[in-house]
Amino acid sequence: MIELSGLRKVYPAAAGDVVALDGIDLVVERGAVHGIVGRSGAGKSTLVRCLTGLERPTSGSVTVDGRVISALPEARLREARRAMGMVFQHVNLLDSRSVAANVAFPLEVAGVPRRRRAERVAELLELVGLGDRGTAYPAQLSGGQRQRVGIARALATEPAVLLCDEPTSALDSATTRQILGLVRDLRDRLGITVVIITHEMGVVREVCDSVTLLEHGRVVQSGRLDDVVTQAGSPLSNALIPVPDVPQDEARRLVEVTYATRTVPTHRALAAVAALGEEVDVVAGTIETLAGLRLGRLQLDLPHRRVAPALAALRDAGLDAREVA
């Protein structure tokens, strides 16, 4: 559905060129909700801007819904964009238009006749739970309501792809949940492909099927959520299933054990840890259900001389075990 290959974007600047994207290869399956995470400046926004054709790649190609966005001339690009909907962090509604007129805007652009437009707007506002607010102006809505209008507008032309750049970072946690619930629901009902840019792992945990971690314009890790979280010690696994910090003790060592119940049930994991004996203590840990998996991460504290035998025993039991630096 979305395919990026060798995508590079360089911004020329007097003080040296900025390489915003440095050879991105990425595929997002039809109907997937894909998260793109990374620190500020990692290139996330540049990546979506390349998807919409607002930014031309320096090299590489961008294919969305069978169309090579990166190669289209301006006029064809405008047409291709109608197959995409975009939701912005700051929503970007037109203040001069009522809620209904904002949602109607992309339909006007697409040349939908007035009568049909009105029906569709009513449908969309109903879909996002704002059926009674059509005549209000954006300034009269709360942040969460505005974002829902933004989503309705993005969906107006029945796009195959919904792109969201930090759609919830201006919202409180309850409203974030509501918006993410709506996104998931839309994917389930309409089968659209969704790309969500975010810096909040909570967003990934809540709605994403797959996720990509960007750093300095490169893909550091990418894959289905259940795969990345079971790659013990990987950056995404650490970020998605955080364990509480443990104070370091010079005399002792930390060993981390990771397991997923689809390969090792919890009772066996715990039994293997218990079998290590007296000197080994569990100092931090978390067990949770994510992407349909039950996952556990435990940190064990043990004397230096016990590290090697413990790692061997744990691995024998089918657990992923490693010493924490």
Partner: protein, 223 residues
């Protein structure tokens, strides 16, 4: 006192006539200013480095001409334009003649106000419209102009009020209207009453424009 005022033929005839002249002069100039200044202001924004269609070759010269127009004091502009006015209108006297320097003086002023108003529109709104597949013309008219309309109206109000002030100066060099009346009676004949009445009428006219302009801007503003 009031009887004295109403008996004075200058006040009962010349002042209403002059007021009408001022309104005609300002009205026609304002119309021309709007018709030329609005597109000019939009052009200035569109060709700017981060505008819809950056064009250095246009931006530079147009910006220069606009700045030139803005930097000349109106009275000097009006005198310098006398030959041009005569060529266009056929005479350099009367309110019709005054429309030429008034419009030429106000167009750059208004164009800059339009440019500023449009520049204030959040670029995110433009981006959103572009992602929806909007053409440049649609972005310009339905996003930039429409979103900036309250500020554009406020700028137009300021322009019209400046035109009233300029029109008094235009009067000084033969343009007619309240300015001409105030100067010829108040300054040249020491008839303070006529001058005070002219001033009062000008103040009322300016007030009226301001009130109407504010009301329209408020109606358009949904922020």
């Amino acid at each position: 006192m009031l009887d004295g005022l109403l008996d004075n033929p200058v006040l009962t005839q010349a002042v209403p006539e002059a007021t009408l002249e001022t309104l005609q002069m300002v009205g026609l100039s304002a119309l021309i200013t709007a018709v030329v200044g609005l597109p000019l202001g939009l052009l200035l924004h569109a060709v700017a480095p981060n505008g819809l269609r950056p064009l250095r070759a246009v931006r530079g010269p147009v910006g220069l001409v606009v700045n030139l127009g803005r930097s000349l004091p109106f009275i000097i502009l009006a005198i310098a334009l006398l030959p041009f006015t005569r060529a266009v209108v056929g005479t350099s006297l009367g309110w019709q003649a005054a429309v030429v320097p008034l419009s030429i003086g106000a167009i750059p002023f208004f164009a800059r106000l339009v440019e500023t108003a449009v520049r204030e529109v959040d670029p995110g709104k433009v981006e959103a419209a572009q992602v929806m597949g909007s053409s440049r013309a649609r972005v310009l008219l339905q996003v930039l102009v429409r979103e900036a309309l309250p500020s554009i109206v406020a700028g137009f109000t300021a322009t019209v009020i400046a035109l009233v002030a300029y029109s008094a100066m235009a009067g000084a060099i033969g343009g007619g209207g309240l300015g001409f009346l105030a100067i010829s009676y108040g300054y040249q004949r020491f008839d303070t009453t006529v001058m005070v009445v002219c001033v009062v009428v000008i103040v009322v006219v300016v007030q009226a424009f301001q009130v109407v302009g504010d009301a329209v801007a408020r109606r358009l503003d949904h922020r």
